[in-house]
């Protein structure tokens, strides 16, 4: 993934700087599904996620003068949504210190085995075995997989978003892929 955003995004951010409301609406529509998808990894409360996304775009509007300085817009939005959602969740559970919470925040991940069965014509048993393997991954491994394969962020962005080193991102990714490889290995030959 390129570090800089596409020209289309940059143009929209420049229009936003000129107080163009339609540019704001276009940006929201464009990124809504991705942000919503990320938000609901942390909570089942969809209303809370929608409010968090609203707040992120309101604060983007308020700071629109600096909008063109945002280098990777998608990364900026994902990070803002994550912070807002985790903060709201923390406020709902007063007793947990924020630091503790941020280490152990939840991450819900479902992998769609139906697609695997249909596209690859693999047996249901095999697909379930894959799903079970993925379900046993740690929360952080699941988040790395999610950010890498769903949001398609680069390793540097994943590291920053998760507050871990690039090496940790690579290690988490590698462990997961090793597990999957041994699962599929029987089906292929070197």
């Amino acid at each position: 993934m390129p570090l800089h955003d596409t020209h289309a995004d940059q143009n929209l951010l420049h229009q936003l700087q000129q107080s163009d409301e339609q540019a704001l609406a276009t940006l929201m529509k464009q990124y809504y599904a991705d942000l919503y998808s990320y938000g609901i990894r942390f909570t089942t409360d969809t209303g809370l996620v929608k409010d968090a996304i609203q707040e992120v775009f309101i604060s983007l509007w308020q700071r629109r003068n600096n909008a063109p300085a945002i280098l990777s817009f998608k990364y900026y939005l994902l990070r803002a949504v994550k912070n807002k959602v985790l903060k709201s969740l923390h406020q709902l559970h007063h007793n947990t210190p924020l630091a503790d919470w941020q280490d152990g925040y939840p991450f819900f991940q479902e992998f769609s085995i139906e697609k695997l069965i249909i596209d690859k014509q693999v047996s249901e048993e095999k697909a379930i075995a894959v799903r079970n393997t993925l379900a046993l991954l740690s929360k952080r491994q699941q988040e790395v997989i999610y950010l890498k394969f769903y949001q398609r962020l680069d390793h540097g962005q994943i590291a920053e978003l998760m507050n871990i080193s690039r090496q940790s991102v690579y290690n988490l990714l590698h462990e997961t892929l090793q597990k999957l490889r041994s699962l599929w290995q029987a089906e292929f030959v070197k």
């Binding site: 609406a25 300085a69 892929l177 599929w184 029987a186």
Partner: protein, 368 residues
């Protein structure tokens, strides 16, 4: 430029371009990867495995429809209308402006490059029209102005069927030179008499199809954006004159040749100088006597069935010998088409198959 030849499975799985190909299947990616696989046939299984891993990591998009997103967008616009307009902060720093100018300059240069490329490219294509191919040669020509294909017999014992609106030409030395060269504009089906010492070449625009003895169709109308070569029997080599010239001037590499086997079709995009190898939708039996042979199997070895199938259609089937050693098949395949036959066999042994670069790749756990 990445060197995918050095990639192991994990490298492929985490490569952005590879992931995009597997998930989005954009036509331009399909073409790039199929070409890469054509040049690196030893990487098929590696790529198939990497694809499976990426596919098993697929995450479905969230259950939110465009109606809900529109409602949320309206809500946002309402909120910002109710709020007092924020005081504009300091104007944009000059540094950013400079950067913009630099970006614009690069863009202009790129656009300039694109124009130059298109100009040179057009000239390039004009080199390979019928007129330029035949201008310096004195040829015996046949033009089919009727609405039915006409059959033409050549001096070497080969024959061709020339489609309506097509023309073919060959030199006086057709039967004596070191090559048997013919020039085609339009479409023709060739049945070439075998002669290993004197390859038969069909020049159609920039594409050259070279054979020793076989039957195949070349379709190359000036008005088409593609040139197609379809092989019925034997083996043919196809290369582009355009690619040859460019490559030679640059790196002195061997020209990119594509080898086609029966039931494979080559589609060459004139504009992008790109090859794509595909399997025919309805592969035909290439060994006529196999038609009579009954394709009924009872407890037959799967490997034997695959090798018969492969021979009957001339299509390569890639699988793991050791794993499939114990598999047996009981099936009646005689009235099924090629893909249906594969479906039946694969469902019987719980396997799957993929068509990659004109070959069938079988994925299976093996049998007990």
């Amino acid at each position: 430029m990445k060197d995918f030849r050095l990639y192991d499975i994990t490298d492929f799985v985490i490569d952005e371009d590879f992931v995009r190909w597997v998930y989005e299947r954009r036509p331009e990616d399909e073409l790039t990867w199929r070409n890469w696989l054509a040049r690196n046939p030893d990487k098929h299984l590696l790529v198939a495995e990497a694809r499976t891993i990426v596919q098993s990591l697929y995450i479905a998009p969230p259950a939110i429809d465009s109606g809900e997103i529109n409602a949320e967008t309206d809500r946002l616009l309402q909120t910002i209308h109710q709020q007092p307009t924020a005081e504009p902060a300091a104007p944009v720093v000059p540094i950013r402006r400079t950067r913009w100018r630099a970006a614009a300059a690069i863009l202009l240069m790129l656009m300039g490059g694109a124009c130059w490329y298109m100009i040179s490219h057009t000239t390039d294509r004009e080199n390979y029209t019928w007129e330029s191919m035949t201008a310096t040669r004195s040829l015996i020509e046949h033009v089919n102005t009727s609405d039915k294909p006409i059959t033409i017999a050549l001096a070497d014992g080969s024959a061709l069927s020339l489609s309506p609106g097509s023309r073919i030409g060959y030199g006086n030395h057709f039967d004596t030179g070191s090559f048997r060269d013919v020039y085609l504009s339009g479409e023709a089906f060739f049945e070439v008499a075998r002669n290993p010492d004197r390859p038969f070449r069909v020049f159609a625009n920039e594409l050259v199809t070279k054979v020793l003895g076989t039957s195949f169709t070349v379709r190359s109308f000036d008005s088409d954006t593609t040139i197609q070569v379809i092989v019925r029997t034997g083996k043919v080599t196809v290369y582009s004159q355009a690619v040859t010239t460019t490559r030679r001037s640059a790196t002195d590499h061997k020209p990119g040749e594509v080898i086609l086997t029966p039931n494979q079709q080559l589609v060459y995009e004139k504009l992008g100088h790109k090859f794509q190898k595909v399997l025919l939708d309805e592969p035909l039996l290439v060994v006529p006597r196999m038609k009579e042979q009954k394709m009924e199997y009872e407890d037959a070895s799967l490997i034997m069935v695959f090798s018969e199938l492969s021979r009957a259609y001339g299509i390569n089937i890639v699988y793991d010998n050791e794993l499939l050693e114990k598999c047996t098949v009981t099936a009646d395949l005689k009235n099924e088409n090629f893909y249906h036959k594969l479906d039946l066999i694969c469902s019987a042994i719980g396997a799957a198959y993929e068509v990659i670069d004109g070959q069938v790749v079988i994925q299976s756990n093996g049998c007990q």
